[in-house]
């Protein structure tokens, strides 16, 4: 029997449970002996010109090796082991020309958009968000970490404050530009706004009996991996070695090679254990580049780990879109047209360009067969922490928007939201299905997913209980929230993934994977794939990842791509090893290759019908000669896959206090055949929690001056065990045809489905009071305010055309909030 699909506990765990992992800050390797500590001096202002940096007081302190600023970036790196340069930066008279020169000096950090929006390694002439790195202090000796904190306080930076641009409305006004040479705060635009002003289709909603409009906020949240960012670097004998907490060592090497102008072969990047990433550790950030640069410049090993308070302002955040939605259809429940106009707050540096809202646009139509869909987006820079992917990266935003829009439409026509969904989902006979927003869905059974989750949740009973509580005017109401979703995984399928599989002459095997585990369980999963294909027991299979000397080519772990690409690569490599073993064994047994069978139960080869001839993997590998039995493969997908599912969230809302309790969460998440239910369920659990967290609690907030209000874990409401129920997961498996395993990605599905399900549940609990929408997070204050503002008698506005739509008081509050961009409180 195949091991695939069975519940296998992780091989990773015993080490993590008894000795703890080895994260970057845990490294006690000889190469890092005598390492100095890096501490960043960060901007306390959201927007200012730097008019001078005085490092002399800091440099005079004992134990200080160097204080580096943007002025040091242009100078050539010090030759190996040369004494560090300690020259004081001159007071810089900053002007735009100098700013651009400093930032285009070729020493820039990761900034794919480039041009005038390039993110510098250290701020030169201008700071653009609180927490932006301005200088780097290197301290040595015992307690170097504490000394670094002390000394960084002594670096005196003169700032000439500028007006802070906070929120997309302020950005789009263009009153203050973050990048004057760019001439605009809009870094990218697309869809109907591709060429500037919107070119909307005036006839999009023609023929719709009902049209509902709403502006909603998909708020900014913080990824909060439990391990903050960390790096260590050594420059020795012309080679740079960097340990980084990253989701992909190979991409980190590409970034370092570009930023430091080194040949990639002169760089080794190692990702040791990584304590969570959630998209925010794709590649490396400017701080890690600076640490590597400092190691090269000073010739000393350098190590860095940020504090959580730094992490909350300087690691990228996620989401932060404002959606202007319009949905139209008929009173029989059929949706005919949908428009989403997106403003993406990119933070200070639009490092992803238009990538996130492009994905949001692509996935705009969700699971629905909507004849007319129009999308538009603008990417607006603001004086806040940069935005980058966070679990879902553009797709949770799309799903949150369409799922809210469908509920608004259902409320408007007075139909059960489950029925509206059932009527509009793409029917199974239409796959592959191309949506009006341009996504080509591979396989899906959306109505089945919905029916299954409704049955598992006991939907009718829940509605009956809800009716009872409404009838009795119970102060604690229940809300039932639905979300049906489809998402896109392995969006970069054609980039593929690598695997190298070697079977050794002792019968054991080693897998080198370009995929990059940071909690997902790749070591267990890849070993299962090898056992299934070759019959080598998984405890005889070693899995290695995250070292560019051993695996120079790889893509990494993000976008729910690992199993479908990295796993398919391992599967393919095992197939090639098997073919090679067959050839070798045929020679050894003097038999025809076609007459040989591999018994994957025992891992032995034999001539069919002749058990006496059995050969072990050790025997065949020993005979193979050369490198032994080795396969080096790359698996590339033709295109992305589209997992889907349906969630039901149940909440209790205390109408007297606004407090929401998430009491049940039932999901169907179909990502094709499940390799190991233990791992897949774990991904779903974590995803659901992060989705619920956005709906209920979490929000990164800045004040009007761009000061972060949620800059540590005491102020940022990272979700805890007390705020979540246990989850009820229902299995469903619809394979894709796009890879040999038939699998799609599961890493982000939970988040994508849970966010709108929980938000819809909160609104549903108050629907009878006339509440139609509450922006996330649905904090007690917002819920209480919505209840207070709602007029029960005004809950059934007779809408027909958008202009005639009369939003309730609660809706106006929400719309005004959205217009003000919700963030500045």
């Amino acid at each position: 029997m195949s091991i695939l699909g069975t519940r296998v506990v992780r091989t990773e765990d015993p080490r993590l449970l008894t000795a703890g992992g080895t994260y970057v800050d845990d490294l006690r390797v000889p190469e890092l002996d005598g390492a100095v500590q890096a501490t960043f001096v960060r901007s306390p202002l959201a927007h200012a010109l730097i008019t001078g940096i005085d490092t002399s007081a800091a440099r005079g302190e004992p134990g200080v090796l160097a204080v580096l600023t943007a002025q040091d970036l242009g100078s050539a790196p010090a030759p190996e082991n040369e004494a560090p340069e300690n020259e004081a930066p001159e007071n810089a008279e900053a002007d735009e020309a100098e700013l651009v020169a400093a930032e285009e000096s070729g020493e820039a950090g990761p900034g794919p958009l480039g041009g005038p929006f390039t993110e510098p390694m250290l701020a030169g002439g201008r700071v653009r968000f609180v927490g932006e790195p301005v200088a780097l202090v290197l301290t040595g000796g015992p307690a170097g970490r504490y000394r670094g904190e002390d000394v960084s306080e002594l670096v005196s930076v003169d700032y000439d404050p500028l007006p802070a641009v906070v929120g997309t409305a302020a950005s789009l006004s263009g009153d203050t530009l973050l990048f004057p040479p760019a001439g605009s705060n809009v870094a990218a635009a697309g869809g109907a706004r591709k060429d500037g002003g919107p070119a909307f289709d005036d006839s999009l909603f023609a023929g719709c009996e009902v049209v509902v409009e709403r502006t909603i906020v998909n708020q900014r949240v913080a990824p909060v991996p439990l391990e903050v960012r960390a790096a260590a670097a050594v420059w020795r004998d012309g080679k740079l070695t960097v340990w980084a907490s990253t989701q992909n060592a190979q991409l980190a090497r590409v970034i370092l090679a570009g930023a430091l102008q080194l040949d990639p072969s002169a760089i080794r990047v190692i990702a040791p254990d990584v304590g969570g990433g959630f998209g925010a550790k794709i590649g490396i950030d400017r701080e890690t580049v600076a640490v590597a640069w400092a190691a090269r410049k000073t010739g000393r090993p350098v190590r860095w780990v940020e504090t959580r308070s730094e992490n909350m302002v300087a690691m990228t955040h996620g989401r932060d879109q404002v959606h202007s939605l319009t949905i139209g259809g008929n009173r029989d429940g059929r949706i005919l047209a949908y428009r989403i106009d997106i403003v993406q707050d990119s933070g200070a540096y639009p490092r992803m360009g238009g990538f996130l809202p492009t994905l949001t646009s692509l996935m705009a139509a969700g699971v629905y067969d909507i004849p007319r869909v129009e999308t538009a987006f603008r990417v607006a820079v603001t004086n806040t922490t940069p935005i980058a992917p966070y679990r879902g990266a553009g797709r949770p935003e799309a799903t949150a928007a369409i799922e809210r829009a469908v509920d608004l439409f259902a409320a408007e026509i007075g139909m059960d939201p489950a029925e509206v969904r059932r009527l509009n989902v793409v029917s199974p006979d239409k796959f592959p299905f191309t949506t009006a927003s341009g996504a080509e869905y591979d396989t899906g059974r959306y109505a089945d997913a919905l029916a299954t989750v409704l049955e598992a949740a006991g939907y009718d009973s829940l509605r009956a209980e809800q009716a009872k509580r409404r009838e009795s005017d119970d102060p604690v109401q229940i809300g039932i929230g639905l979300a049906t979703y489809v998402e896109i995984t392995a969006v970069d399928a054609q980039a593929g993934e690598t695997a190298r599989l070697a079977v050794h002459d002792d019968g054991t095997a080693t897998v080198y994977t370009g995929s990059s585990a940071h909690g997902q369980g790749h070591h267990t999963a890849w070993a299962m794939l090898v056992q299934d294909e070759l019959g080598i027991p998984m405890d005889q299979v070693t899995v290695i990842h995250g070292d560019t000397d051993l695996i120079p080519v790889g893509v990494g772990t993000f976008a729910s791509r690992s199993l479908q690409l990295g796993g398919s690569a391992v599967h393919k490599a095992a197939g090639e090893v098997k073919d090679e073993a067959r050839r070798v064994a045929a020679g050894m047994l003097e038999a025809a290759e076609d007459d040989l069978d591999l018994d994957t139960g025992t891992g032995r080869w034999q001539v069919r019908g002749d058990p006496e001839t059995a050969l072990s993997w050790a025997q065949i590998a020993g005979q193979a000669g050369g490198d032994g039995l080795v396969a080096n493969v790359e698996f590339k997908g033709d295109r992305a896959t589209f997992p889907f599912g349906a969630h039901v969230a149940v909440v209790e809302v205390d109408t007297e206090t606004g407090k929401v309790r998430h009491v049940r969460h039932v999901t169907v998440d179909d990502a094709g055949p499940v390799l190991n239910p233990v791992l897949a369920e774990g991904q779903r659990h974590g995803g659901i929690a992060q989705g619920a967290a956005q709906a209920l609690l979490e929000e990164v907030v800045f004040d009007a001056d761009g000061n972060p209000i949620t800059s540590n874990l005491a102020d940022y409401a990272a979700i805890t065990a007390t705020e979540l129920p246990s989850f009820e997961l229902v299995a469903m498996e619809t394979p894709t045809t796009l890879n040999p395993l038939g699998v799609k990605g599961i890493g982000e599905a939970g988040t994508i489905g849970a966010t709108p399900a929980v938000q819809n549940a909160v609104v549903d609990a108050l629907a009878h009071l006339g509440v139609r929408h509450i922006d996330m997070p649905t904090t007690p204050e917002r819920v209480w305010t919505a209840i207070t503002a709602a007029q029960p008698s005004a809950s059934q506005p007779s809408a027909s055309q958008p202009s005639a739509s009369q939003p309730s008081a609660a809706q106006q509050t929400g719309a005004q909030k959205a217009a003000q961009n919700g963030r500045t409180q």
């Binding site: 506990v9 992780r10 990773e12 765990d13 015993p14 993590l16 449970l17 008894t18 000795a19 703890g20 992992g21 080895t22 994260y23 800050d25 845990d26 006690r28 307690a143 970490r145 504490y146 990824p223 909060v224 991996p225 439990l226 391990e227 903050v228 254990d273 990584v274 304590g275 969570g276 959630f278 780990v305 504090t307 959580r308 308070s309 940071h518 909690g519 997902q520 369980g521 233990v678 791992l679 369920e681 774990g682 659990h685 974590g686 995803g687 659901i688 929690a689 992060q690 540590n712 874990l713 005491a714 990272a718 805890t720 065990a721 007390t722 979540l724 246990s726 989850f727 939970g750």
Partner: protein
């Protein structure tokens, strides 16, 4: 100042700054790196250890305060023969960990919780874990691991 702390049965002496935190003594002086630092506001619990048998967040205890005390970290939890503690075994069986970073603190917090309350309800486990953050598991399997470990009490 000089402090002497018994960590996992071994005496550790160190000359530390007055302001040195217990977690840094454990990691930098005792060389025990399982205990992680996840925040700077006593919010995340990744640094949870047992101080004279009680769970504490070692980022919020000065090394000086622990002078003369006994500390148990994750490394000291398994038996001398390597047999895992019931909480460790339950985390493995129930997939109570993914990236592993919160795990040492989670395990130590639950060891302490189950000593105080050997047969907790699910709600009691969740309340007991309020000071420990996990970003990977959604807490679902951590709660199951706690309830599984409790069956051995």
């Amino acid at each position: 100042m000089k402090v002497t702390i018994t960590v996992n049965g071994q005496e550790v002496g160190a000359d530390v700054e007055d302001r040195a935190l217990l977690v840094h003594l454990l990691r930098d002086n005792a060389g025990l790196t399982a205990t992680n630092i996840g925040c700077d506001t006593t919010s995340c619990g990744a640094c949870t250890v047992l101080l004279d048998g009680e769970s504490v967040k070692s980022c919020t205890v000065l090394a000086a305060q622990a002078d003369g005390a006994e500390v148990t970290t994750l490394e000291g939890l398994a038996g001398a023969d390597g047999t895992m503690h019931p909480v460790q075994r339950a985390f493995h069986a129930e997939h109570g960990l993914q990236c592993g970073f919160c795990t040492p603190g989670m395990v130590m917090a639950l060891v302490s919780l189950l000593r105080e309350n050997p047969h907790p309800t699910e709600d009691e486990v969740r309340a007991g874990l309020e000071g420990n953050l996990c970003r990977c598991t959604g807490y679902h399997n951590i709660v199951r691991a706690a309830l599984t470990a409790a069956t051995e009490n």
